[in-house]
Subunit: 179 residues, 2 copies
């Protein structure tokens, strides 16, 4: 990992969020602004977001549509952000999931710059989110982004502790190269 | 754009690359390392890359598979990086395009940290890239990332100059919010 800029080198995806930490409104705005200014194919900006802060209505509606095993740790996060993408209409370029990925990555870099951490969940109840958040037609829930401060990992349930304290692992670079 | 970290706030996507600037090997390594350490669903890392530096074989094979109108400016870039994602096999989670988007965003942040700029192209000749780069089955070309230093915008063809010097525009944040 030599030579990576600190905002990337020190990023990791915790579960041990501090259940007492709150996300300030200015922090929430900065996270969404970062996503907003991400690049996209044809500048289509095919991303949509719902941001819930702990215990508000949006937060509750997002949390209940996560698997029970993930609710155990996601409920500690200061905010839960639903990331959705367009599936139809003028903003649909065929690159919407890719562009949502870019926008969430920008949100994550901004979170790191604020001293916050992010963990993404892809195993979500899309139909439930669509109903509970009254999402418009053509908007598909794709990811939930838990945002918060890192707390005490020893407060995690035992079965989550091992993965929390393990090393980050990636394939060797050579396996990623095509030519 | 208040309060964004500089690596995001000052990012933009030029066409006026300096055709004399070269990408150092250490810079190329850092770009790929940044992509490599991006997060992905289930840590599947479903991204694959080919990096060509100006005038090498990989660079030529990527360039020739871009539309002629884009070759005019892409040929100035110091490097062209093909970003591909898995479509089948153990790395295929249904989130591969999303995760590739994250990886390219991380590459872009690293490029910015190095004083480089990035512009992405989605209008590429996928079948040509697959043939010319001898890509394995199950790997789909998705994006070409032009990387380089910004040169003189007045050296661009006149029809490209207007977009180069225009303001970056995004939808108001309110249009992106679902709840």
């Amino acid at each position: 990992m030599a030579h990576l800029t600190p905002l990337l080198a020190f990023r990791w995806s915790p579960r041990s969020f501090d259940p007492t930490a709150e996300l300030a409104p200015a922090e929430a705005s900065a996270l969404l602004e970062a996503a907003r200014w991400a690049p996209s194919a044809g500048n289509a900006q095919p991303w949509r977001f719902a941001l819930g802060r702990r215990d508000d209505e949006t937060w509750k509606r997002i949390l209940v549509n996560l698997p029970g095993r993930d609710q155990r740790w996601a409920a500690r996060a200061s905010a839960l952000v639903l990331g959705a993408h367009l599936t139809a209409g003028p903003g649909s370029t065929g690159h919407a999931p890719y562009d949502l990925g870019q926008a969430v990555a920008h949100l994550t870099v901004q979170a790191t710059a604020l001293g916050l951490h992010v963990r993404q969940l892809h195993d979500l109840h899309a139909a439930g989110l669509t109903a509970d958040l009254d999402l418009p037609v053509g908007v598909r829930p794709h990811v939930v982004v838990a945002v918060g401060q890192v707390g005490d990992p020893l407060s995690l349930p035992a079965d989550l502790l091992a993965s929390e304290t393990g090393l980050r692992r990636r394939r060797p670079l050579a396996e990623l190269l095509l030519a």
